[in-house]
C-alpha cells in the first residue's frame, strides 16, 4: 500500500465514458441497419461494410503513417489508433445509412476515405474536427458523383419516385400523398429512399434510446424538426395550394429525421452550450428547408449541417455565449425565427 497525493475532486462518474457515449449511437442505429438489410438485402450489407471499413481503415492507416513519420517502428497495434471508443465505427455507420442502395461500392469507399481524411484527420482526430465526417463524406459523394446516386435513377417499378423527387419538379404537387400515405412516410415501409433514412418510426425509437441513455441532447433534434415543421407550416398556411400534407411531407422525407437525430447531434462538431446548440439546430432546420425549396437539392440537410458546422466556433465565441438562456437572447432568437418564417413564406409566394 502506498499513500498517493491527488487534487480534488477524487470521484469520477462511472457512466461517463467515451465508449459508452459513442457506442450508444451505434446501438441506436441498429434497428435501422436491420431494416435496411431486410429491405435491400445483401447490397445494404456491402454498402454499410464498405462505409464502415473505409472510414476505420483510413483512420488506422493515417495513424500508422503519422507514427512512422515521427520515426516510430511499425507495430500492427497502433498506439494512437483506437477502435474501442467506437467513434469512427459510429461515423461509418451514420455515413453508410445515408446512401442509396444502388450506389456503386467504389463511390462509397472513396467518400468514406475522403470524408474521414478531410473532415476529421487533418484537423487532428477525435474531438478536433470541425466538420461532421459522416455529413462531409455524404456531401462529397453528392457533389462528386451526383449522377451515380441521383434520385431519378431509381424510379423503378416497385419503388417509384422519392417524395423529394416529385416535389423537386413541382413543390405544390399534392399528389405525393397519393403515392405515399402518411403511414408509409412515417413507417418507411415501401418508401423509396436511402438505406436508413426512410423509417421515421425506427429513427424515433433510436432517438428515444439515446434520450433515455442521456447520450445526446434532445433539444437538438427537437429544434431541427420543430424548425422544419414551423417554417413549412407557416408557408402552407399562407399558400392556397398547400395543406397539412406539406409540413408533414417536409418533416418525414428526405432524411430530415435521420439527420436531426444522428448527425446534427454529433457533439464534436456542434456548439458546446445548450443555447448554442439550439441556435445551431435552428440553422440546420431553416437552411434545409430553404435549400429544398429554392435550391432543389435533395440532400439539403447534409449540406445544411456541414454549412452550419462552419459557424460552430462563431456561436461558441465566449463573449456572447453562456450556458444560460437570458431574456435578451430569447427575444433576439424569437425575432430571428419570425423573420426567417416571413422570408420563407414571402419567397414561396413571389418567387415560385
Amino acid at each position: 500500500m502506498n499513500l498517493v497525493q491527488k487534487t480534488a475532486p477524487y470521484l469520477r462518474k462511472p457512466t461517463a465514458r467515451v465508449s459508452r457515449f459513442m457506442g450508444d449511437v451505434s446501438v441506436a442505429l441498429l434497428p435501422l441497419v436491420v431494416f435496411a438489410i431486410y429491405r435491400h438485402g445483401l447490397s445494404a450489407v456491402w454498402i454499410l461494410l464498405a462505409a464502415v471499413l473505409s472510414m476505420v481503415l483510413t483512420e488506422y492507416v493515417y495513424n500508422q503513417i503519422i507514427d512512422m513519420l515521427n520515426g516510430e517502428k511499425f507495430k500492427l497495434k497502433n498506439k494512437s489508433f483506437t477502435i474501442s471508443n467506437m467513434s469512427i465505427v459510429t461515423s461509418g455507420l451514420i455515413y453508410g445509412l445515408t446512401l442509396s442502395d444502388v450506389i456503386p461500392l467504389q463511390v462509397v469507399i472513396i467518400g468514406g476515405v475522403v470524408g474521414t481524411f478531410l473532415a476529421k484527420l487533418i484537423f487532428g482526430g477525435l474531438g478536433q474536427n470541425i466538420f461532421n465526417p459522416a455529413a462531409f463524406a455524404r456531401v462529397f459523394v453528392a457533389l462528386s458523383f451526383g449522377g451515380a446516386i441521383a434520385y431519378e435513377a431509381y424510379v423503378d417499378a416497385d419503388a417509384g419516385a422519392t417524395v423529394l423527387g416529385v416535389l423537386a419538379n413541382d413543390l405544390f404537387d399534392s399528389s405525393v400523398t397519393e403515392y405515399y400515405s402518411y403511414w408509409t412516410m412515417f413507417s418507411g415501409i415501401g418508401m423509396p429512399g436511402s438505406l436508413g433514412e426512410t423509417s421515421a418510426l425506427l429513427i424515433i425509437v433510436g432517438g428515444l434510446y439515446l434520450f433515455l441513455r442521456k447520450s445526446f441532447d434532445i433539444f437538438v433534434p427537437l429544434t431541427v424538426i420543430g424548425t422544419v415543421a414551423l417554417l413549412s407550416g407557416t408557408i402552407a398556411l399562407f399558400h392556397e395550394d398547400l395543406g397539412l400534407w406539406f409540413p408533414y411531407t417536409m418533416v418525414f422525407s428526405g432524411g430530415i429525421m435521420y439527420a436531426a437525430v444522428f448527425m446534427a447531434t454529433d457533439p464534436i462538431t456542434i456548439p458546446i452550450t445548450r443555447p448554442g446548440r439550439v441556435y445551431f439546430a435552428f440553422g440546420v432546420g431553416a437552411l434545409t428547408l430553404l435549400i429544398r425549396i429554392f435550391g432543389q437539392l435533395p440532400e439539403g440537410v447534409v449540406f445544411a449541417i456541414v454549412f452550419m458546422n462552419m459557424f460552430t466556433p462563431a456561436i461558441d465565441y465566449p463573449k456572447w455565449t453562456t450556458n444560460k438562456f437570458t431574456l435578451r437572447s430569447i427575444l433576439i432568437f424569437a425575432a430571428i425565427v419570425i423573420v426567417t418564417a416571413a422570408i420563407a413564406t414571402a419567397g414561396v409566394h413571389y418567387a415560385l
Partner: protein
C-alpha cells in the same frame, strides 16, 4: 453522457449511516498556534505548566483581528513543536498531555438567560470573537466578523446542509444538540436584530427534519422555521443554500450580508451558543473516518488537537487489498489530499476519507458539453481548458475563470475523464 449533473453517485458504496459512534479521549492534543489567517502567535504558557479546559494558551495575531488559542483538555504543557495540519502544511503547535480529569478553567461558567438577553450586538460579538469561533463548515472565516456586520440583516440562515457527499458530522451534531442550535440561532438573531431565522436541511434527511421541526415549534414567539432544500450537489455551497431559501442570487465574490443574509454553519451556531451560554470555546469535534479503503468506517467524537492516526487505528486502519490509498481531509469533491496519516484535527476537520486511488485515463475531449451544462456558476470549463492550453489570457478573462468555486463537478462528469477542475486552478493562477 450529455446532461446537467446534480447528483454525486455513491459508486464506491461508502456508508453514510453510522451505527458505530465512538468517543475518543486523546492521550495528548496538539493545539495549532497559527490558525488560518493568523500568522504571529504570542504564547502565555510554558513547558510544565498545568492547564485547564478553556484556558488561553496564547493569542494569534492576524492582519485585521486576533484570535485566542484555547486548551481543549486539562493537563500539562509538554512541548512546543511542529505538526502537519489538514492543509498539508506544518504549523507550530503546543503539545498538552491529557490528565483525563476534564478540569474546567475558571473563565468557563454559565450565564443566565436574562444576562444574555440584555446584551448588545457589540457585547455578543466580543464574546464570540474572544472564544475564537470561526466558520466550522470549512472556510474558517471568523464568526464575530460576520456577526459584527453593520448591514441590516433580514434573515439568519443556519446552513445544515452538509456540503459534500459522504460527510455526516454536522448531521450528527444537529441530531445530538437541536435545542442548543435553536438557542444559538436566537442569539445570532438578537445580535444582528434579524426578524427571521431559518435552518436549512436537505429534504432527504427525514428523521432529522422531523426532530428539528418539533424543536422549532418551541420558538414560535420568533419567526424561526426549518426549510427543506433540494438534495443536489453543491447545495451546501452557501450561495446555493441562500438561493434555495430566499430566492436571492448572491453574486460570487460579494458578501451575503449586503443582501441582508447572515449565513452560519450549523456547527458554528452551536459554537455561538456555547460561547455565550457557558463562555466556552469549541473543544470537541465530530470527525468521520470513512472511505472505501477503511476497514470499519466510524464516526468519532474527539477533542480538537487529537491526531487522525489515532482515529484511523481505531477504525481498523486500511483494508489489506486497498492498493494505492488517497487520504483526503474533507469531502471527496473539494477536500485536500495529503500524503500523511498523522494530521492534527482542527476546528474545521469534519472528516478523513481514505479512498482507493482511481487513476482515470484521460481521453481527448469529445465536446459533449456535460461540464458546461453542469457547472453551478455557469462558466464553460472546456473552453477555459482550451484557452489555458493556448495561453490566452484574454479568453480566460472573458470566460470568467475566476468565478469558479472549484466544486469539482466538471471533473466528475467529464465523459473523457479530463481533470478539468485542475485546469480551472491553473487558469486562475495564470491570471494572477
Amino acid at each position: 453522457m450529455i446532461q446537467t449533473n446534480k447528483q454525486i453517485a455513491n459508486y464506491k458504496n461508502i456508508s453514510e449511516d453510522f451505527e458505530r459512534m465512538e468517543h475518543v479521549e486523546p492521550e495528548r492534543v496538539h493545539i495549532a498556534l497559527n490558525p488560518p489567517r493568523c500568522k504571529d502567535c504570542e504564547t502565555y504558557v510554558e513547558v510544565g505548566d498545568t492547564v485547564a479546559i478553556g484556558q488561553t494558551l496564547g493569542v494569534s495575531q492576524g492582519p485585521f483581528f486576533k484570535l485566542p488559542v484555547y486548551s481543549t483538555v486539562s493537563g500539562t504543557v509538554e512541548a512546543f513543536t511542529k505538526k502537519v495540519m489538514p492543509g498539508g502544511e506544518e504549523d507550530d503547535v503546543v503539545v498538552i498531555k491529557n490528565d483525563f480529569k476534564d478540569t474546567m478553567h475558571e473563565s468557563v461558567g454559565e450565564r443566565s438567560d436574562e444576562e444574555i438577553n440584555a446584551m448588545s450586538q457589540q457585547e455578543i460579538v466580543d464574546i464570540v470573537g474572544d472564544k475564537a469561533l470561526t466558520g466550522l463548515g470549512g472556510a474558517a472565516f471568523p464568526t464575530h466578523i460576520k456577526m459584527g456586520t453593520d448591514k441590516p440583516i433580514d434573515v439568519v440562515i443556519v446552513n445544515g446542509v452538509e456540503c459534500e457527499p459522504y460527510l455526516n458530522s454536522d448531521y450528527v451534531l444537529m441530531q445530538e444538540r437541536p435545542e442548543d442550535m435553536f438557542k444559538g440561532l436566537r442569539y445570532a438573531m438578537q445580535a444582528v436584530s434579524a426578524p427571521r431565522g431559518v435552518v436549512a436541511v436537505k429534504e432527504t434527511k427525514k428523521k432529522l427534519l422531523a426532530m428539528l421541526k418539533e424543536e422549532a415549534a418551541k420558538h414560535s414567539d420568533l419567526d424561526i422555521s426549518v426549510v427543506e432544500v433540494e438534495d443536489f450537489y453543491p447545495q451546501g455551497w452557501e450561495i446555493a443554500t441562500f438561493k434555495s431559501v430566499t430566492g436571492i442570487d448572491v453574486p460570487v465574490g460579494t458578501l451575503p450580508m449586503e443582501y441582508g443574509i447572515l449565513g452560519l454553519n450549523s456547527s458554528t451556531i452551536i459554537g455561538v451558543y456555547d460561547a455565550l451560554k457557558y463562555n466556552m470555546p469549541v473543544i470537541d469535534r465530530y470527525v468521520t473516518i470513512n472511505g472505501d479503503a477503511i476497514k470499519q468506517p466510524t464516526m468519532f467524537k474527539t477533542r480538537i488537537g487529537a491526531s487522525t492516526k489515532h482515529l484511523l487505528d481505531k477504525s481498523g486502519g486500511f483494508k489489506e487489498d486497498a492498493g494505492d490509498v488517497n487520504i483526503v481531509m474533507g469531502g471527496p469533491m473539494m477536500g485536500q489530499s495529503t500524503p500523511y496519516e498523522d494530521i492534527t484535527i482542527t476546528q474545521t476537520t469534519a472528516s478523513l476519507l481514505a479512498l482507493r486511488d482511481e487513476n482515470p485515463v484521460e481521453e481527448p475531449c469529445v465536446r459533449c458539453g456535460s461540464c458546461v451544462y453542469s457547472c453551478p456558476v455557469d462558466i464553460q470549463p472546456v473552453q477555459i481548458m482550451n484557452a489555458y492550453k493556448k495561453g490566452d489570457k484574454k479568453a480566460l478573462e472573458q470566460l470568467e475563470v475566476n468565478k469558479c468555486i472549484e466544486c469539482g463537478i466538471c471533473s466528475y462528469v467529464c465523459t473523457s475523464k479530463i481533470h478539468l477542475t485542475d485546469y480551472m486552478r491553473k487558469g486562475k493562477n495564470f491570471l494572477r
